[in-house]
C-alpha cells in the first residue's frame, strides 16, 4: 500500500498544476483578445442601439430603430442576400481554382520547384491590397490588358464590358482570397499518405474514384477551413466591390462602410454589422453538422 501511495500521490498533485499551465499558456492570448477585440466590439454593440453618434452637442437616445430598419426595408435584405451570394461564389471559385493548384503543389511537384511555385502563391499576399485591386482595373477596363490580349488572340473579338460588373468584383475577390484556399488545402492534402492513393489505384480505382472517395474526404477539413476563412471577410468586403464594381458594387459591406465614412451614421453601420455577424453565425449553426463531419 505504502508503495502505491507514493506512486499515485505525485500524479494527483500534478493535475492542478496542469490546469494552471494551460491557463498560463492561453491566458495572455485571451487577455489580448479581450482588450483588442471584445472591448471595441462591445462599444460598437452599444452604439448600435443609439439613435445618433453619442457626441457632445448631439441629441441621442437608446432605440431599436437601427435593427428594425433592416427588417422594414427590402433594400437591406436584398443587399444581405447579394453579399451572401458573393461570399458563396467567391469561396466556390477559390475552391475550384485553388484545390487543383494545391493538389499539384502537394502531390505532383517535388523539391525546389514546389518552393518556387509556393512563392508565386504567397507573393500576392505581400503586395498592398489596394495596388492589387487597382491593377485589376487596368486588366479589366474597356480596351484594357485583357481585351487587347483577346483581340490579339482572336481579331475582332470586340468588347467584354467586364469592368464595373458583378463579375469583376468576383474576379478581384477570388484573386485576393485564393491563397487562403490554396494554403489550407495544401496543408490537409500534404498530410495524405501517398501510399493511400497507390493502394486505391492498385485496387482498381480510377483517378476520379480516388479523388471522390479518398482525396476529397480526407482534405475536407482544409477545404472547409479555407471556405470559412474566405466567406466571412468576403461578405463584409467593401474595397473590391467599390473599385471594381462601380455602381454594380453595392453590397452590405459597402453600405456599412458608407455609414462610417461618408454618412456618419455609426449606429446604423454598427447595427448592420451585427446583423451580418448574426447571419454568419446562423449559417454556421445550420451547417454545423456537415462542417463537423467534414473535419
Amino acid at each position: 500500500m505504502a508503495v502505491s501511495d507514493t506512486t499515485t500521490a505525485p500524479i494527483r498533485r500534478h493535475r492542478p498544476s496542469n490546469a494552471r499551465s494551460i491557463l498560463g499558456l492561453t491566458g495572455p492570448a485571451y487577455l489580448w483578445l479581450v482588450i483588442t477585440i471584445l472591448l471595441p466590439l462591445a462599444a460598437m454593440f452599444y452604439f448600435s442601439f443609439l439613435s445618433d453618434v453619442p457626441l457632445p452637442g448631439r441629441d441621442w437616445q437608446v432605440t431599436l430603430s437601427n435593427y428594425t430598419a433592416f427588417f422594414q426595408q427590402d433594400f437591406y435584405r436584398t443587399l444581405m442576400l447579394r453579399s451572401l451570394r458573393l461570399g458563396f461564389e467567391v469561396a466556390l471559385w477559390c475552391f475550384v481554382i485553388g484545390f487543383p493548384c494545391a493538389y499539384v503543389l502537394a502531390k505532383t511537384i517535388k523539391g525546389r520547384w514546389r518552393e518556387a511555385l509556393f512563392l508565386m502563391v504567397i507573393i500576392p499576399f505581400w503586395s498592398n491590397a489596394l495596388i492589387r485591386v487597382f491593377s485589376w482595373t487596368m486588366v479589366l477596363r474597356g480596351n484594357g490588358i485583357l481585351e487587347r490580349f483577346l483581340d490579339w488572340l482572336i481579331p475582332g473579338f470586340g468588347s467584354l464590358n467586364l469592368m464595373f460588373t458583378y463579375e469583376a468584383v468576383v474576379i478581384g475577390l477570388v484573386h485576393s482570397y485564393l491563397p487562403y484556399m490554396i494554403l489550407t488545402c495544401y496543408i490537409s492534402l500534404s498530410t495524405i499518405d501517398d501510399d493511400l492513393i497507390d493502394a486505391a489505384r492498385s485496387m482498381g480505382a480510377s483517378r476520379l474514384t480516388v479523388l471522390r472517395r479518398i482525396i476529397l474526404p480526407l482534405s475536407m477539413p482544409g477545404i472547409v477551413a479555407g471556405a470559412v476563412l474566405i466567406f466571412v471577410p468576403v461578405i463584409g468586403s467593401f474595397m473590391e466591390p467599390r473599385i471594381l464594381g462601380g455602381r454594380e458594387g453595392t453590397f452590405l459591406g459597402t453600405v456599412i462602410e458608407d455609414q462610417f465614412t461618408s454618412v456618419f451614421n455609426w449606429p446604423l453601420g454598427a447595427a448592420l454589422s451585427f446583423i451580418l455577424l448574426a447571419c454568419v453565425m446562423v449559417i454556421f449553426a445550420v451547417f454545423q453538422p456537415i462542417l463537423r463531419r467534414a473535419s
Binding site: D193, D195, L196, D198, A199, A200, R201, S202, M203, G204, A205, S206, T209, R213, I214, P217, L218
Partner: protein
C-alpha cells in the same frame, strides 16, 4: 493467373542504388518469399512490380505484359503495404469492400465476400470501426483482408504478419497458404521471419544491398547457402575459416574438415555447418569414415524448452550446436567435448 518476370531491374534514389540488376522469375501460382535485411530493397522491388514507380532500367512483365503498358487500376494487383495504408476516413468494412466496390460488384456479393475475408483474418464484428480505433495487429489484418478480398491475380505482401502474436500468425499462415493454393494467386511476400519464409513459400530469394544474392527452394537455400551471409541470415550457421588444402579445409590448429565434394579452389575458404547437424559424441563413439570431428570447449548451455543450444569455442571460433531436449547430455561449462558431423553437411560458402 499470371507469372511475374523481373529482368535486370535497377532503381536508384538520387545517388543511392536501391536495386541493382535484379532478375527474378515469379512462377504462375507460386508462393515466393523475399528475405533480406532492413533497407535491402524489398519494398522498393514490390513497388516496382506493382507499378507505383518505374525502374530506371530493366523490365517487369506480369502475365507477359509490360507493367508500364497497363494503367495501375487495370493491373489487378493486390498490394498490402508495410504501413498498411488503410483509408482513415472509411470503416473497416468500407476499407475491405473498396476493391470490390470499384469493380461494381453487386451489394449482396460485397457483403458476403467482405464478411468472409474479415472472418478469415478473425475480425468479424469489427466492420464499423475506423482504422484509428484498431490495434496495430488488427490494422495489419484489415490490410491483409483488403488485399486478398478481390482475388487479384498477383498478391504482393509487405511483411503481412509481422505485428501478430505467434498463435495468430500461425493461423494466418495456414489461411494464407490455403487461399493462395485454392485461388492460385501468384504471391510474393516479404518477411523478416525466416521460419515463415521456409514453411510457407515454394521459393525463397535473399536480397542484400539491392542485389539478389541467391534464390531457390527453401530446402536448397537452407541446405546449400552460397554465401556466409545467406547461411547466417537464413537460419543459424557455424562458420569455419581455413585454407583449402588438398580438397579439404585446414583450420588454423591443423584440424582438417572434409566437405561434400573436395574443394576445387585453393587459398582461404569458409565453410558453413548448421548447428543441428553437429552432434556431441562420446570419445569412444564409433564414427563413420566420412565424419568431421572437432574438439571444442563448452562455454554455455542455453535451455529453450524443447531444445538446447550449446555455445562452444574452438580456438577463436565460437560454435553453436542444437540438440533436442530428449537427446541432450548433461554437460558442464568448461568441459571439453567432441563434435562430429557428416562431411556432406559442410558447405563451402563465399565469405
Amino acid at each position: 493467373m499470371a507469372s511475374v518476370t523481373v529482368s535486370h531491374v535497377s532503381k536508384s534514389f538520387g545517388d543511392f542504388q536501391a536495386l541493382s540488376d535484379v532478375s527474378i522469375e515469379f512462377a504462375d501460382g507460386g508462393f515466393y518469399a523475399l528475405l533480406g535485411p532492413s533497407g535491402s530493397g524489398k519494398t522498393t522491388l514490390l513497388r516496382q512490380i506493382a507499378g507505383f514507380s518505374f525502374p530506371d532500367s530493366g523490365e517487369i512483365r506480369i502475365g507477359g505484359e509490360a507493367v508500364e503498358s497497363v494503367p495501375v487500376e487495370k493491373r489487378n494487383i493486390g498490394m498490402m503495404f508495410q504501413n498498411y495504408a488503410l483509408f482513415p476516413n472509411m470503416s473497416v468494412f468500407d476499407n475491405v469492400a473498396f476493391g470490390l466496390m470499384v469493380r461494381d460488384t453487386p451489394r449482396s456479393e460485397i457483403k458476403a465476400r467482405v464478411g468472409e475475408a474479415l472472418e478469415l483474418v478473425r475480425l468479424s464484428g469489427y466492420d464499423e470501426r475506423k482504422p484509428h480505433q484498431l490495434s496495430g495487429g488488427q490494422r495489419q489484418r484489415v490490410a491483409l483482408a483488403r488485399a486478398i478480398v478481390f482475388r487479384p491475380q498477383v498478391l504482393l505482401l509487405d511483411e503481412p504478419l509481422s505485428a501478430l502474436d505467434k498463435a495468430l500468425r500461425l493461423g494466418m499462415q495456414v489461411e494464407l497458404k490455403r487461399i493462395q493454393r485454392e485461388v492460385g494467386i501468384t504471391t510474393i511476400f516479404v518477411t523478416h521471419d525466416q521460419e515463415e519464409a521456409l514453411t510457407l513459400s515454394d521459393k525463397v530469394g535473399v536480397l542484400k544491398d539491392g542485389k539478389l544474392l541467391q534464390e531457390g527452394t527453401p530446402r536448397e537455400l537452407y541446405e546449400r547457402p552460397r554465401t556466409a551471409f545467406a547461411a547466417t541470415f537464413l537460419g543459424d550457421a557455424n562458420l569455419f575459416n581455413g585454407i583449402a588444402d588438398d580438397g579439404e579445409l585446414a583450420l588454423a590448429d591443423g584440424t582438417r574438415l572434409r566437405t561434400l565434394e573436395p574443394l576445387a579452389r585453393s587459398g582461404r575458404m569458409t565453410c558453413a555447418v548448421r548447428p543441428e547437424k553437429i552432434a556431441i559424441v562420446e570419445d569412444s563413439a564409433q564414427l563413420s569414415s566420412d565424419s568431421n570431428v572437432l574438439e571444442a570447449e563448452l562455454e554455455q548451455t542455453i535451455f529453450a524448452g524443447n531444445s538446447l543450444s550449446y555455445l562452444l569455442r574452438h580456438g577463436d571460433t565460437s560454435l553453436r550446436v542444437f540438440a533436442q531436449n530428449r537427446a541432450a547430455a548433461d554437460l558442464q561449462p568448461g568441459q571439453r567435448v567432441r563434435l562430429a558431423w557428416c562431411s556432406a553437411d559442410t558447405i563451402p560458402v563465399e565469405a
